[in-house]
């Protein structure tokens, strides 16, 4: 693609920043709070310059108090505001797990439908930067276990730019997981791009031989594998889930019903995971369409190691995806 006046070149980080700027400009109830979102410019520089533009009331630096400021986000959401709470990484969200699971996810139901929580939480997820076992995990699938919250995983510039506004308009709590490896991803985005739907998966690459089902940080790896496979004459379809809860089951089943083979690629661990859930749904809804068992390429079941060769080995990589596909297609 070339840059003309209808598209703009930007990074995922900038797309996210534009989404924040747009939301803050459109709705006075929207504010951003989290650790170092203001003066520091955001730990991954997503909120850089927003403090100067919107002031410290709306770009709120918080102390290191994840449980308190996530809870405060819930309270403010209950009381007329539209908070965007940033948690630096998913590992730190564990300090706020009580507020997310016991409050954000339950208050509407527990109150018999009286109190909804229009809260958005943004967090970084994923590995690949040698940050070891307390900064690298992919727990979005784990959060997707919880009824009452919605789980988004923007993997493209368009979704980074467009999911936030839709999430803010949602009456219920939405968690947006941004894979840390995506922030520097650069590409073209339509200048007039805006809000996108958040309840549908997307076919990022149509194909007829096999469905590669993935999301977030592994979408790029699946696309790369699909490119490589096409040279070997294998036509892989790539499904980007986009939203992990609620899952767009019809799109998954439809794809598998056309290709008759499926691999799920997930940076999370496989045991008790979102990949297990997807596999189960395929069994339940498209079992007789399958030519062979569903397979999964997931992270090794270890806390993330620091050393690069070990981290690389622990993560799903495109050569392994391609190899899995070749084996499956060759076998049937």
């Amino acid at each position: 693609m070339t840059t003309d006046d209808k598209t703009v070149r930007m990074t995922y980080r900038e797309a996210m920043r534009q989404a924040l700027r747009d939301a803050l400009s459109r709705d006075p109830r929207v504010f951003l709070m989290g650790e170092d979102v203001g003066r520091y410019g955001g730990c991954f520089a997503v909120s850089k310059d927003l403090l100067a533009e919107f002031g410290p009331e709306r770009i709120r630096d918080t102390p290191l108090s994840e449980s308190a400021f996530v809870g405060a986000g819930i309270g403010a959401a209950l009381n007329g505001m539209r908070p965007i709470v940033e948690i630096m990484t998913v590992n730190f969200s564990l300090l706020a797990l009580d507020q997310i699971v016991n409050n954000a996810a339950t208050i509407l139901y527990m109150s018999g439908g009286q109190f909804n929580v229009p809260l958005v939480i943004r967090l970084t997820t994923g590995a690949g930067r040698q940050l070891a076992a307390q900064h690298s995990h992919s727990l979005e699938g784990w959060y997707a276990h919880i009824p009452g919250i919605k789980i988004l995983a923007p993997a493209t510039l368009e979704d980074a730019r467009g999911m936030l506004w839709t999430a803010l308009e949602d009456p219920d709590p939405v968690l947006i997981f941004e894979h840390g490896g995506l922030y520097n991803m650069e590409g073209e985005l339509a200048a007039d791009t805006g809000a996108v739907e958040i309840d549908k998966a997307a076919i990022r690459r149509p194909g007829s031989d096999i469905s590669l089902i993935t999301y977030g940080g592994t979408l790029g790896k699946a696309m790369q594998a699909a490119d490589e496979l096409s040279q070997a004459g294998i036509d892989a379809e790539v499904v980007d889930l986009r939203t992990l809860r609620p899952l767009d089951t019809p799109t998954i089943l439809d794809s598998v019903s056309r290709t008759h083979r499926a691999v799920i690629i997930d940076e999370g661990w496989r045991s008790g995971s979102i990949s297990a859930e997807i596999s189960a749904r395929i069994m339940e809804g498209a079992f007789y369409e399958l030519d062979l068992p569903v397979e999964r390429v997931c992270s090794a079941e270890v806390p993330m190691p620091y050393a690069k060769h070990l981290e690389d080995a622990a993560l799903p990589q495109s050569p392994l995806i391609a190899e899995t596909v070749r084996r499956m297609v060759g076998a049937s």
Partner: protein, 333 residues
């Protein structure tokens, strides 16, 4: 080498002073090398330097006995070096080599060493405090006369885990020496922007924990305060809290444009560089000559060179072993 813990007021005698100076220099030069190696991509991930804060770890650790325990944060190279973990095994860890103290699995933020009872390297702010409380509980319940020193930044004071740990340690009169390294900033957030009450000792005393502020740029003050506090902790009266007032001269980590503080402020603090201060003080009292310093620097440089050579020559853990130690290899008998 370390000072007797019951020695509450160390004097400025030459041999001991040289020891303190050497320890601070070891940290400074080791970390300068780390920054260089980060630039050369030998070290990756997050790298948090302790440069400027050396007097705190060096001073505080003088108060510990060999069987005491340490819990530290991701900014822990200095503590590890002073505690006696070899520069080789720390540097190899930063390289990700299996000869590293954590086999290359932890990296800069997760230094562990069983021999010296060094329980990490914790990269969750506040995450180390409850563990320190538990280590001390274990000692108390087993009738052992040991202290657990717990290091953390002032940023941790905002976390619930800080308050819960303070309360538990005080309630159960546990032998924890809480060492708060107040370098004024938690990443880009100044203490005064994150705490309604910036007197950190007051927070500890509200839990009935004796607490003292300490000039963290003055190695002698750090050592004296730590020895006094450790003595109280060891006597069985419960935890103590020290607030070391210090400053980090470098960025928070390797990716920090430092928009939140001025160059002037950094320069002002550099006037109180703990190493230069102590160097000047030793010279004043005739304990240090140019030759002494030259010799010290050479010895430290040689140690660091050995560490780099050792790490360069180190090996990668076989990928087949990636799953080792997710669970213990020793099965219950």
């Amino acid at each position: 080498m370390s000072l007797q813990a019951d020695r509450a007021a160390p004097t400025l005698e030459r041999e001991h002073s040289l020891h303190l100076l050497r320890q601070m220099l070891r940290i400074r030069r080791f970390e300068e090398k780390c920054a260089e190696l980060y630039g050369a991509t030998k070290i990756r991930g997050f790298l948090h330097l302790y440069i400027g804060e050396e007097a705190v770890a060096v001073g505080a650790i003088q108060a510990l006995q060999p069987d005491d325990a340490i819990v530290a944060t991701y900014r822990e190279h200095g503590h590890a070096l002073v505690r006696g973990i070899s520069a080789e095994s720390i540097m190899a860890e930063l390289y990700g080599k299996q000869e590293g103290c954590s086999r290359g699995r932890g990296g800069s933020m997760h230094i562990f060493d069983a021999r010296t009872r060094f329980y990490g390297g914790n990269a969750i702010v506040g995450g180390g405090l409850p563990i320190a409380v538990g280590l001390a509980l274990g000692d108390k319940m087993q009738g052992r006369d040991r202290v657990t020193a717990c290091f953390f930044g002032e940023g941790a004071v905002a976390e619930g885990e800080f308050h819960e740990s303070m309360n538990l340690a005080a309630l159960w009169k546990l032998p924890v020496l809480f060492c708060c390294e107040n370098n004024l900033y938690a990443m880009g957030t100044a203490l005064k922007r994150s705490e309604s009450e910036v007197d950190l000792c007051l927070k500890a005393t509200s839990y009935e924990i004796p607490a003292w502020p300490v000039d963290g740029m003055d190695i002698i003050e750090c050592e004296r305060a730590a020895c006094r506090a450790a003595l109280a902790v060891r006597s069985g009266e419960g935890p103590c809290f020290l607030e070391f007032r210090t400053y980090r001269f470098r960025a928070h980590s390797m990716y920090d444009p430092q928009l939140y503080r001025t160059k002037e402020e950094i320069e002002e603090w550099k006037q109180r560089d703990p190493i230069s201060l102590f160097d000047a003080r030793m010279r004043e009292s005739g304990m240090l000559t140019d030759d002494d310093l030259k010799q010290l620097e050479e010895e430290v440089a040689a140690e660091i060179n050995r560490a780099v050579e050792f790490s360069e020559a180190g090996t990668w853990e076989p990928i087949e072993d990636i799953g080792r130690f997710v669970y213990s290899e020793r099965k219950p008998s």
